[in-house]
Amino acid sequence: MFKQSRRLFLRSSAAMGVALSVASAAAALEPIVIGIPAAQSGPVGVADHQDWTNGAMMAIEELNANGGVLGRPLEAKIIDLDMLSPEGNVAGFQSLIEAGAHAIASAFTIIPQPAMDTAAPSGIPYVHGNTSTVNVDLYKGDPHKYRNVFQLDVAEKWYGSGFVRFMSDLKASGQWKPKNNKVHIVQGQISYTQLISQATQEAVAQTDGEWEVVSITDIQFPVQDWAPVIRALQETDAGAIMIDHWVAAELAAFAQQYAYDPVPGALVYLQYGPSQPEFLDLAAGAGEGMVWGTVYGVYADESGTAFREKYKDKYPGTMGMVYTGGGYDAVNILADAWESVGDPSNFDAVGDYIRNIEYRGINGFYKIDPETNSGISYPNMVDDPEAGQAHLFFQVQDDEHRIIAPSPFAETDFRLAPWM
């Protein structure tokens, strides 16, 4: 358990501040400021933003320990973002830009337009993991204005086709024999989950009957009790179940109730929510055998494992699997850009560098797609495993997240869940 995470985090960041001020006094150089708008008091997303901040702080500490960037120390400026309202987004981003941030690294915001509109005029490099189509559409509407707004991962719609591909691959490999071709989707109501559901339905329709969406159940955050959903699941009796929802605690509650009332033989796939640290702790073993995926997850290869160990040393307890690596990579990409451009205040030069970047981080290979100003996903968009960020599929095995697909990055094989 990662007890009293916030205090630990505050303490460590306070210590950081002290260390930084000492370092900068010694170097007598202006620090390079990275603005991190993180939701700390809102009703949603606080855990993800905490992950992102932790990862970013880790990268900053490492870089500073190695003498900083261009001989200047890095400094994080963290503010509390109200990401649900336009005025909250505007106020947050404006204050960062005015505080003299040289770049903004943000996990995500729920309504991207005000945030992007605030960042765009100043030309400040703004890297984020929004995972949303809205960004891409906005960028396509005015590529010049939003030239320095980079979505490091891909739009959420790739979750849909990726999931269908995963099912077909798993079936083809013989590791799983589905009892029927039915897919049951349980969908949340926000844009993210809705778009994923739509994309899944489209991808299923293209499989020519290999799969078939037979039932869609709507749920509304907050879900107090999953009993009605589980009843619906049992009535449908589908071979594959997709829980298209993103709140880790509620998914854990689902896991607990489902584990004692399962649909026999069904593959259960959860949206990226289990990546948040609390899922395993709360599910208390009930998550065993459940599959979940993310287009932006921490790899388990050599560098990924090293990162995981370092992270666990610094922030003991269960680790978040998505935005921890995201924050870490984002800061490193920015540092690379500054190192080669030489002047962090030259926003467009930094932007140009990131636009043409080829960087292998712990969440995969970063290359910006000029069409969308966002990342590239393997195997959804490219066939070369090292040409994009892998759409990772995890399974909870022995109370741990283990990557089971795509094959180049798999740690282990798919294992039948207790109810299968």
């Binding site: 509390d80 505007v90 404006q94 337009q113």
Partner: protein, 398 residues
């Protein structure tokens, strides 16, 4: 032998007084088309010096002018983020003023204020984005929708009282929120309508000139709300409502003298709702977008906190409270959740100690002083407390 203490008897020696020529007849400016004067000057002869003295009996207009002038002069020199905070403050203060009209003047405990803002904002934004109406029409559609929404919501207010009506309006706000988030055509943007046309040109949006223009608009909005407040409260409508203000007996009295106070309440409600509709349209234009967050309980509670800290039912309370809370909430985002705790703490302390918010502190202090001086006077009287005023008696544990 007791020592006698003498107390000086004189009135406000520190106050600055004009000394006009006593021989010239007074000539006072009036508001055009009315019999009202601009300021409340009062003349009196000083009995000792036999000179004519003139003083301002009601200094509030003076403070308002100084405060608003200082605000509008200083703001353009501040940083970009401070200008946006100033504009947000103007919007919130306008909403609060109109809400105060509904809660304070009309005495209808409505929680649907933001719902009306939201509904009109959404309707206005939709008319622009989906029907292609040019932006000046937003300022027309907003109030029209606000008028309709207000008329519908006003209907049950005469039948339900107090808390039950509050519950009903809270339900309406929640229904609006769910409805908007369920709209499939808005799913992409999580229920928000974005890319609304605005009086701020596209190229200026969120840049210095655009921010200044936006601030100017928001300030005009605030002035408009203040004007509406003033018009309703100091004219016939306000008078009628004050007759039936405090309780059942007053209502009965008002009815007995032939005042249709229900009708007056509904009128104020609908007027304020139309104005709230205008605010909604302005909000959608100012941010070029509007999100379902406007219907959320959190946002409503934040506005409520503003009114409460400033003082419920007073114009200056609504504005001062909005200033304090907006500054803390939007200006101190670096300190994270602590700022919300700070707002809660201010709210707590103010409410425990002040009976009518910060702006009521002065009156409360005067009452306190009056009571204390009454108590002292009572102790001084040789006859044993005849002059003791009633307020000096506190019934312990009623």
């Amino acid at each position: 032998m007791t020592v006698k203490t003498y107390y000086k008897v004189r009135r406000r020696p520190w106050e600055y007084k004009l000394s006009p020529d006593g021989k010239v007849a007074r000539n006072r400016l009036r508001l055009p088309f009315t019999r009202r004067h601009f300021l409340k000057w009062r003349d009196a002869y000083n009995p000792k010096s036999l000179k004519r003295e003139r003083r301002l009996a009601d200094k509030k207009p003076l403070w308002w002018t100084i405060g608003l002038l200082a605000f509008v002069v200083v703001t353009p020199f501040l940083s970009n983020s401070m200008i946006s905070i100033a504009a947000i403050f103007c919007i919130y203060a306008s909403i609060n003023l109109l809400w105060t009209l509904i809660v304070g003047t009309a005495g209808i405990f409505s929680l649907a204020t933001l719902a009306i803002v939201g509904v009109s904002g959404y309707a206005a934004a939709a008319s622009n984005v989906f029907l292609g109406l040019p932006w000046p029409f937003i300022l027309l559609v907003g109030p029209m929708v606000g008028f309709v929404a207000g008329s519908i919501l006003a209907a049950p207010s005469t039948r339900l009282d107090g808390l039950y009506y509050a519950l009903l309006t809270m339900g309406v706000a929640e229904i609006c929120r769910v409805f908007v988030t369920q709209l499939r055509s808005l799913t992409q943007t999580n229920g928000a309508i974005t890319q609304v046309d605005s009086f701020i040109p596209e190229d200026w949006f969120l840049q210095r000139p655009g921010l200044l223009l936006g601030f100017a608009g928001a300030f005009c909005l605030l002035l408009g709300s203040l004007l509406l407040w003033r018009l309703i409260n100091s004219e016939r409508l306000g008078l009628l409502l004050r007759t039936a203000k405090t309780g059942r007996e007053d209502e009965a009295f008002a009815e007995a003298v032939g005042i249709d106070f229900r009708r007056a309440r509904l009128t104020v409600f609908v007027l304020s709702s139309s104005a709230l509709g205008l605010v909604g349209g302005f909000y959608a234009m100012y941010f070029k977008s509007i999100s379902p967050n406007i219907f959320s309980l959190d946002q409503l509670l934040l506005l409520f906190a503003m009114m409460v800290i400033g003082g419920l039912g007073r114009a200056e309370g609504a504005v001062v409270g909005a200033a304090i809370v907006t500054l803390i909430d939007k200006g101190f985002i670096e300190i994270g959740p602590l700022r919300i705790i700070l707002v809660a703490a201010i709210m707590l302390v103010v409410t425990i100690f002040a009976r009518e918010g910060l702006t009521g502190v002065r009156d409360q202090f005067r009452d306190f002083r009056k009571r204390k001086s009454g108590e002292r006077r009572a102790q001084r009287t040789e006859k044993g407390g005849e002059a003791m005023p009633e307020e000096a008696v506190e019934v312990h544990d009623k």
